[in-house]
Every structure is written in structure tokens, then in C-alpha cells.
């Protein structure tokens, strides 16, 4: 093949830096899958920086071959020969890699990325190499580990290396690897050690070392797991709190359950969606700030709806709590269907702004997402605000007075009707704020609120009526308990168990955690 030869020679002369990869690219394109696998394995074991573009192109499926079996790489919708000059003979056909080859490509790419200047890229690469790495990479990993300066990359490389050494013939090497795994606190190390113990290892010393290491790893992981569960518990608790706080106020005040309370959450979330849309249309440059504006708007919208409901329906049902329950359920049906007709039954997309996405990595197996951290803080902030409102303002005084004795308050000139309306607005508004928070961590759909009414009522039952401190304790308590039970017995059984526990709890303290004792007047 004279033409091919000339081209290679030309390439050698003109594009020295690309030469190796151009050669290799052509060879790769011309090879059959078995040979391609061999090539990839060789490349992985001996990385050179020049090969990086080719591997990246391979991984992204941008490599093609023309009729002459020459390699072309797609760049910006144009075909460029691997050596930079040649024109394709006919339309190049993209290479199709099978699963095995794709895996090998990833490994090879990772081994090349270990040479990168950026520590974050090296960390990703090292983590990639912790899985399915061929033994041939052993010397490479050892040399990179020796040269590595970043601590976290070192850890990741240690793990990758130990993974490989576990397959070594020499029991002493395996023993060292097992001990090394014990030093890390990584979930992968646990999986690896567990699989080692369940079968492949025959050497007794290695086995016992593995058991010891496994225990160590588990210990280290346990801290992360427990902290993680506690954190998701607090996160769930903060959401329950936002959902239940308004309910606790209206239930304490009026003795009625507003079954449409969950829909206030839903409407709050949809308001957030609308505000987001508005920003996208009118002020895309300030899009990141949309949740901040959504808060007051959601509060106003839901508070107004709440007050309207109180004036038109609930007011006429005072003293008939069960009827109120049914009527408000009817309202909730109408609201859900209204949203479904307006926005469609599908979930709408509410995106986190940049400052709410991502998270902080505390431990190898513990990432705290920013949005959840912010929501926990936000829930506490809302509680503080509510406390101030109830304890330091005239309205709060009136609300507390009516909660304790409606008739007496009315006799003292408290406008109970207005207080009811405002308190209902306040309760619904808080739910609206909760809806904004919910939109940042979950799906926003018409049924969003349905699942919260039972949970928030359980919080109210547990916390005691009209008690802020009770609601806070109960919400976080239930949230944390829920999240600790979940991994043990599953989410569904956990929920059932919690329900049973609450029923048993009420046997002991019918008035809830923080109830005032007193003479019951009959």
C-alpha cells in the first residue's frame, strides 16, 4: 500500500507530535475488535499525553474510518484525519464499540488522565481506575502513587492499587493490599473486601487480615452513614416542619384540620415555577435569584387563597370539625384538578440555581447537598419568625388568646373573626413557603401536597396542639426516626412502624409531647 505508506511518512515528517496517535488511530481503525482491545490495554499501561485527544474522541464516539481504513476524527461537524491533512475517501463511517471496548476505553482514558495537571481530573481518573482495572496497570499505578502529591488523589490511587494487588499471586502482596484497604474509609473498599471474603481468597492469613480490615472500614463508614442518615432525617424533619407549622397554628386555633393544607404546599411550589418562568423571560441574567423572589410571592398567593377559603367555607363550619374535614378535602380535590387542567398532569421543571446545586463532601461516603442545608436553615428561620409573630405582636397575642379560650377572647373585644382569617392566612402562607422549599428538592406536580397532610398531622398529634416547641421537636424527631428506620426495614415498613409507635405513644400521652395539663371543663 504505497499511498498509505507515503501518508505515514508525510505525517512523520510534518506533524511529529501527532504522529504516534495518527499511526495508532489508523491502526485502531483498521484492527478487528480483538486487536482493538489489545491496543487499548497496551495504551492504558503506557500512557502518553499525545494520545489523550484520540481516547477522548473514542469515548465520545467521534472516531470514524473511511474506505481506506484510515482514521478520521469528527471536530465541529467536520472530518479531520488523525494526521490532520488527508481527505476521506468516501464518507467515513463511525466506529461502533462494543461494551467491552467501551469499558477498556474508559480505563485507558483514565490512565491517561492520571497525568493531567488538574488534581480534580486526576481524582476522577483514579476513582475510575478503582473499578475493573487490568493487572497490567499495576506498575503505572505504583509510579503515579509515588509521584502524586494531592492527598485525596493519593487515597483514591491507594484504593485502586490495593484492588489490583488483591488479585496478585503472592499472598504477601495480597496481605499488604488488604491492610491498605483497611486504612481507607471508602464504600468501594468495603464491597471489595466483602467479595474477597465470600469466595476467592484461600490464604488464611489474608482472610483474617481482610476480616480485620473490613471491620475497620465498616467502622469508618458507619460514622459517615450515621451522619448521613441523621442529616437526611434533619432534612426530612425541616420539610415536615414547614408543612406542619401552618397546620399546627390553624388546628390549635380552630380545632379543624384543613385537608387542603397540602395543596397550599403544592401551590407554593407552582408559584415558584411561575416566578422561575418569569425570570427566564424577563430577566435571564438574574435567574439565579428567582427563589428569593418566589418566597414573598408564594407567601402572598397562598395566604390570600387561605383567607378566601376561611371566609367562604370554613367560617360556616366552626364547631363541626368532621364536616370541615370533608369540605376542605373537597377544596383540595378542586385545587388539584385546577392545577392539573392548567399546567398539565406532568411534573413541571423547577431547576436549582447554581448556589443551591452541588454539595459539600464531608466524608468519602457523605455529601451534604447545599439545597438541603439551606432548607434546614430556612425552616428554623421560619420557626423563629413565627415565634416572634405569635409572641411579640398584637396579632400573635390575639391568636394565642383565641386558641386558649375563644369565648373569653371574644368577650374581651378580640375580633375573633378577623383573627381566624389572619391566622388561617398565616398558616397557609407558611405552607406556601414550604412549597418553595419543596420545589428545590423534589418533583413539582399536582399531587405534591397529598402525601404531606398525613405526615404533618402526625407531627401535630405528636407535638401537641398549639405548641411551637412541640411541633419542632416532633418534626425533627419523626424525620430522623424515619431515616434511621428506612435502611433497616425499608421505607414502607418504617412508615407503618412509625404509625404504630405514634398510636402507642398516644396511649401514654394523649395530649402530645408538650401539652399543658389542666382541668378539662365539661
Amino acid at each position: 500500500m504505497p499511498t498509505a505508506l507515503t501518508r505515514i511518512l508525510l505525517g512523520l515528517l510534518l506533524l511529529l507530535p501527532l504522529t504516534a496517535s495518527a499511526n495508532e488511530a489508523d491502526a485502531f481503525v483498521a484492527a478487528n475488535p480483538a486487536k482493538q482491545a489489545k491496543l487499548l490495554q497496551d495504551w492504558a499501561a503506557a500512557p502518553v499525553p499525545e494520545r489523550l485527544p484520540l481516547l477522548q474522541a473514542l469515548q465520545q464516539g467521534r472516531v470514524a474510518g473511511d474506505a481506506d481504513k484510515r482514521a478520521f476524527i469528527q471536530r465541529n461537524d467536520a472530518w479531520q484525519a488523525a494526521d490532520g491533512q488527508a481527505q476521506p475517501n468516501g464518507t467515513p463511517r463511525k466506529l461502533r464499540l462494543n461494551n467491552r471496548l467501551r469499558g477498556l476505553t474508559a480505563t485507558a482514558l483514565a490512565s491517561h488522565q492520571l497525568l493531567d495537571k488538574d488534581a480534580a481530573v486526576r481524582l476522577d481518573a483514579a476513582q475510575q481506575l478503582q473499578r475493573n482495572t487490568p493487572p497490567a496497570l499495576l506498575p503505572l499505578l505504583e509510579s503515579r502513587l509515588a509521584a502524586e502529591e494531592d492527598e485525596r488523589v493519593q487515597d483514591a490511587l491507594t484504593l485502586a492499587l490495593a484492588n489490583l494487588q488483591l488479585a496478585a499471586e503472592d499472598p504477601a502482596v495480597r496481605l499488604a493490599a488488604v491492610e491498605r484497604l483497611g486504612q481507607t474509609g471508602d464504600p468501594l473498599a468495603r464491597t471489595r473486601l466483602e467479595s474477597l471474603l465470600t469466595g476467592e481468597e484461600s490464604d488464611a492469613a489474608v482472610r483474617s487480615a481482610a476480616e480485620k480490615s473490613l471491620a475497620q472500614v465498616k467502622n469508618k463508614l458507619l460514622v459517615g452513614e450515621l451522619l448521613g442518615q441523621a442529616f437526611s432525617g434533619l432534612s426530612l424533619g425541616s420539610i415536615l416542619l414547614l408543612a406542619a407549622l401552618g397546620l399546627a397554628i390553624t388546628f390549635g386555633l380552630l380545632g379543624v384540620i384543613n385537608m387542603a393544607h397540602g395543596e397550599m404546599l403544592m401551590l407554593g411550589a407552582y408559584t415558584t415555577y411561575m416566578v422561575q418562568l418569569m425570570f427566564q423571560r424577563l430577566a435571564p441574567e438574574y435567574l439565579a435569584l428567582y427563589p428569593l423572589l418566589a418566597l414573598p410571592i408564594a407567601f402572598l398567593v397562598t395566604a390570600c387563597i387561605g383567607m378566601a377559603l376561611e371566609r367562604t367555607v370554613i367560617r360556616h363550619l366552626y364547631g363541626r370539625p368532621l364536616e370541615t374535614l370533608l369540605a376542605t378535602w373537597g377544596i383540595s380535590l378542586i385545587l388539584i384538578q385546577l392545577v392539573r387542567v392548567t399546567f398539565g398532569a406532568q411534573n413541571v421543571e423547577v431547576a436549582n440555581p447554581y448556589w443551591l446545586s452541588g454539595g459539600v463532601q464531608v466524608l468519602p461516603n457523605l455529601v451534604l447537598p447545599y439545597n438541603r442545608i439551606v432548607i434546614i436553615g430556612f425552616a428554623l428561620f421560619v420557626v423563629a419568625l413565627t415565634w416572634l409573630l405569635l409572641n411579640k405582636t398584637r396579632l400573635g397575642l390575639n391568636v394565642r388568646a383565641v386558641t386558649q379560650n375563644r369565648n373569653m377572647a371574644a368577650c374581651c373585644g378580640v375580633p375573633t373573626g378577623r383573627v381566624d382569617m389572619l391566622a388561617f392566612g398565616l398558616g397557609s402562607g407558611i405552607a406556601g413557603l414550604g412549597g418553595v422549599a419543596l420545589s428545590q428538592i423534589g418533583n413539582v406536580g399536582p399531587d405534591l401536597g397529598q402525601s404531606y397532610i398525613i405526615d404533618s398531622f402526625l407531627v401535630v398529634v405528636l407535638g401537641g396542639v398549639g405548641q411551637l416547641a412541640g411541633s419542632v421537636t416532633a418534626a425533627f424527631g419523626l424525620g430522623v426516626l424515619n431515616k434511621f428506620l428506612e435502611p433497616q426495614i425499608g421505607a414502607v415498613l418504617g412508615k407503618i412502624l412509625i404509625l404504630a409507635l405514634i398510636i402507642l405513644f398516644i396511649q401514654k400521652r394523649p395530649q402530645g409531647l408538650f401539652a399543658l395539663k389542666g382541668r378539662v371543663i365539661d
Binding site: L516, K517, G518, R519, V520, D522
Partner: protein, 280 residues
């Protein structure tokens, strides 16, 4: 209204088993052992609600067949004391015995009611959706278990008994009216009638004449006096005229404990009682 004397026959029926420690066949509660002549014993009872002491070291005895009036300013602990006796409130400590054998602090409200303590609330509570007759029927002393109620039919004797009480409380004409349509005073009488049907050994009456006309009050006084010999009564009342017309023995409660005890005249002349009522 005509203040008719109560027919003796009716009283016998209503009093029924009020004779000491009697037990008539199908009654639920066991007879009350009152060997030492005391039907109710309260000793050193303490009740506190979140730090507020409603009752402090309250000690009180009610004798068999006695009609005792309890008076005291608001917040003296009168209703709390009734709550303790009927099992609604558990005392923090102290001894509460009904007769010699019933430890009230260890019994439920239902058990206490079945043992023979009847209570009339401050605010009259009757079963509003049921007729006057049915109200009395439900109160009647009989087996009150679920199974018995499923199969219960009124015997002629029981019907007569209800009729008699209806006559006594003068609601004969409204026997088929729903109790919810009665006047306040009529409800008071209906509730007293229901107490009679229960044939209790001890009756606790919380302000029984509130909302009654003078004639009704007078009639109630006579009714209570005639009940007294066979039942024991404890009456909480603010109406001093009424107290004077019925009581032979008065107890004054103040800040959760007994301030004075004796005849109405005695307590009315007691220095401390005057101080409490008139302020210092």
C-alpha cells in the same frame, strides 16, 4: 310550679339499694362496705397542674346518709376534688376510698360509676338526641355491658321505675320529647333524674340549682333532703340560700384544702372564712 312532696313509694324505688351495703341481684357494682360509717374518705390529696397546686393536702370524710355542702371561692378546688373522686383526674398522692374497699385512685371512671358514685356536671349534660324516657332508660341501674345492651328489653318493673322518676322530676308530659329541646332547668332535673335511676350510694352534685327558678330551687332542696337519709350527697353550690335550706354540715374549701367545717352558722362566723370571702 307546684312543689309537691315526693311520693314515698318512688323514693324507695329510687333509693333502691341505698340501704347500707345492700346488693340487689343483677346490679353490677359490688355492695359498698361502710362498716365505719364513712362512705367517702379523702386523705392528704395533692393535685398539681404544671406547678399550680389545685389541691393541697385535702382531707375530707363524708358519712353514710350525710348531705354535705361544699362552698368556697372560685379556684378553691371544688371541681378538681370531684374530678379526683370520679376518676377523671389522678391525684399526685394521697388516699381516696369509697366505703372501705374501693380505692378510687386505682379505678377507672366507669368502674367508679358502676361502684355507685353518681355525678352531675356543672353544665347539664344529657343525651340531646334521645328522648327524655330514653335518657332515663340508659341511666337505669342494670347490666351495662355490650352484650346485655344488644339483647336488652325493658321489663314492666323497669318501666314503672322510669315512670316514677319521670313523675318525680316532673317531666312526665315531655317523656317523648328529645332532651335537646328541654329548657335549662328541665335539663338540670333530667340529669338529677338520671342520677336517681343509677341508684348510686354517693351523689356528687356540681351547682345543681344554677339556672333554676326559685320554685324549682325550693323543690330541689326538698328532693335532696328526702334523698339524704338513704343516699349520701355532696353538693357544691354558690347559692347560700339554697345551702342554708338543705345543709346540716358545710365544708369550706380554700386554695385546695379545707378551711373550715361545721354547721352553716358556724362557718359563716368563722374569722378566716369571712376573710377569704370578703378579702382582707
Amino acid at each position: 310550679m307546684r312543689a309537691a312532696p315526693i311520693p314515698e313509694a318512688m323514693l324507695d324505688a329510687a333509693a333502691g339499694v341505698a340501704g347500707l351495703a345492700l346488693d340487689t341481684g343483677k346490679t353490677v357494682g359490688k355492695g359498698v362496705n361502710v362498716r365505719h360509717g364513712t362512705i367517702l374518705t379523702l386523705e392528704a390529696i395533692n393535685v398539681s397542674f404544671d406547678g399550680f397546686k389545685a389541691l393541697t393536702d385535702l382531707t375530707l370524710y363524708i358519712g353514710v346518709g350525710e348531705l354535705r355542702c361544699i362552698i368556697g371561692p372560685n379556684g378553691a378546688g371544688k371541681t378538681t376534688m370531684m374530678d379526683v373522686i370520679t376518676g377523671k383526674t389522678r391525684p399526685d398522692n394521697g388516699v381516696a376510698y369509697f366505703g372501705e374497699q374501693f380505692d378510687l385512685t386505682a379505678m377507672s371512671e366507669v368502674q367508679i360509676a358502676q361502684a355507685g358514685i353518681g355525678r352531675k356536671f356543672q353544665k347539664p349534660t344529657v343525651f340531646e338526641a334521645l328522648s327524655v324516657f330514653e335518657n332515663l332508660e340508659l341511666a337505669q341501674k342494670t347490666n351495662k355491658s355490650v352484650w346485655a345492651s344488644l339483647r336488652a328489653t325493658l321489663t314492666g318493673e323497669q318501666k314503672d321505675c322510669i315512670d316514677e322518676v319521670l313523675t318525680t322530676i316532673r317531666l312526665d308530659a315531655s317523656r317523648h320529647r328529645p332532651a335537646g329541646l328541654l329548657s335549662h332547668g328541665q335539663k338540670q332535673f333530667l340529669e338529677i333524674g338520671m342520677l336517681l335511676m343509677q341508684e348510686p350510694h354517693l351523689l356528687l352534685l356540681d351547682e345543681p340549682v344554677a339556672g333554676m327558678t326559685d320554685a324549682e330551687t325550693e323543690f330541689t332542696a326538698e328532693l335532696f333532703k328526702s334523698l339524704a337519709r338513704k343516699h349520701s350527697l355532696m353538693v357544691v353550690e354558690h347559692d347560700m340560700g339554697f345551702v342554708g335550706s338543705i345543709a346540716d354540715h358545710v365544708t369550706v374549701l380554700h386554695q385546695g384544702s379545707v378551711l373550715a367545717e361545721g354547721s352553716l352558722e358556724q362557718v359563716q362566723n368563722d374569722e378566716r372564712v369571712i376573710e377569704v370571702y370578703l378579702g382582707r
